[in-house]
């Protein structure tokens, strides 16, 4: 039914966070009406689960908010809702410790450990058993709150409003690597991590999870 009709849903304004009726599954969902500028006639004609064309530019992952506080293992989903990574960890024991796996191959992708003997939250990120980066929170009222330093000398910047959960990660040349925000997510109680092409997605997702944990540690203290 309805082969001749493509339904397009624009998820902007107050409906952005709302839920669709259970039986309404739009063929195309965009966040802003302006996103339709990039759609071709073929994309409107081709039916099926079509996804924001920005997917061609960015890969988008969805993470349930505070997932790690609800359970000791959770999944990270792709744009279509399929679980792609699994995160298993021990949170709030003696320092957070979490490992992210590839859901399909079971391969360990990222390992994050909190360094406990540290005044401010400090995390070490490992990939393939090698130290990859360290991340720590800084005493800053203004400007950057987190500092992420790669073992290879790269420095990453976290800009934006962490408390409202809307921020970006860029490299030291100012290239935008990823954007993290609730408003990008199509799923309820979730936020999205938009990863730029060619960027190490597991690493960026790990960063987002750590920042969320640090934020939670603060809120617990307050």
């Amino acid at each position: 039914m309805g082969d001749r009709l493509t339904t397009v849903f624009v998820k902007q304004g107050k409906y952005a966070a709302g839920e669709l009726p259970a039986n309404f599954r739009p063929d195309i969902t965009v966040l802003h009406i302006g996103d339709l500028r990039t759609y071709t006639a073929e994309e409107f004609l081709l039916k099926g689960t079509k996804i924001d064309t920005r997917r061609a530019l960015n890969l988008r992952y969805h993470i349930r908010e505070r997932a790690w506080s609800l359970t000791e293992a959770f999944v990270v989903r792709d744009e279509a809702g399929n679980p792609v990574f699994e995160v298993r960890g021990k949170f709030f024991h003696i320092g957070d410790d979490l490992v992210m796996y590839d859901r399909y191959t079971g391969q360990e992708l990222v390992h994050i450990k909190q360094r406990v003997l540290s005044l401010l939250p400090r995390y070490e990120i490992y990939r393939n058993g090698q130290h990859w980066a360290s991340m720590h929170e800084q005493f800053r009222l203004f400007g950057e709150r987190f500092k992420v330093e790669g073992s290879n000398g790269m420095v990453f910047h976290v800009n934006g409003d962490i408390w409202r959960w809307n921020f970006s990660v860029s490299d030291s040349y100012g290239n935008l690597m990823a954007q993290i925000g609730r408003q990008f997510s199509l799923f309820r109680d979730s936020y999205a991590v938009d990863v730029a092409p060619g960027i190490d997605a597991p690493f960026v997702i790990a960063l987002a999870i750590v920042i969320e944990m640090v934020k939670e540690h603060h809120e617990k203290k307050d």
Binding site: R4, T6, T7, Q12, G13, F24, H32, F44
Partner: protein, 178 residues
């Protein structure tokens, strides 16, 4: 027969209608005070319930009829009407709407479909320049089955794309097209 026709909704799709309502309310609060402003919105919802669409002129007419002259003098009422008549809708158009409509025009035929009264809603679509961008293809008062048949008759196409957040309308259209 065009290959692709876009039916595009207005409120909260092209125009930030919730923002417009908030702004109108702010004006009404100043002009009428909180109790009459609240009264207006009550009438607005009541009329919408009765007619199935928003009808500003009728809601205004009822507002005029109900309170006594001491509560709402003629001058104030004219101001209120003027707020609706002269609202700058072009400011409430979402970012990149113009470019989007122009783009869609290059790959299909764009048609604006909207429900609401023929005065205020028409004013909204014209004043915001949306009517001009779609070269005047505007259908008002689309919410009934026969309206959908009319839409298909006026704009026959191989394929339709419905850009709307009105689920019921979209569902009906699916039914008609199938």
């Amino acid at each position: 027969m065009p290959g692709l026709v876009f039916f595009i909704d207005v409120d909260n799709t092209l125009i930030d209608n919730d923002g417009v309502k908030e702004d109108l309310d702010a004006h009404l609060q100043v002009e009428l005070g909180p109790s009459l402003a609240a009264r207006f919105w009550e009438l607005y919802e009541k009329v919408r319930e009765e007619e199935g669409v928003v009808d500003i002129p009728v809601a205004l007419k009822r507002l005029r009829e109900q309170p006594s002259l001491t509560e709402l003098d003629e001058q104030t009422f004219l101001h209120v009407e003027s707020i609706f008549d002269n609202y700058p809708f072009y400011r409430a158009v979402y970012p990149h709407v113009i470019e989007t409509l122009e783009h869609l025009c290059t790959i299909g035929l764009t048609v604006i479909v909207s429900d609401g009264d023929r005065v205020f809603q028409a004013e909204k679509i014209v004043n915001s320049d949306l009517a001009e961008i779609v070269e005047g293809r505007v259908l008002l008062h689309v919410h009934k089955q026969q309206d959908l048949d009319e839409m298909m008759r006026l704009y026959p196409a191989d394929h339709y794309a419905m850009i709307s957040r009105r689920f019921l309308l979209t569902a009906k259209l699916l039914w008609v097209i199938a």
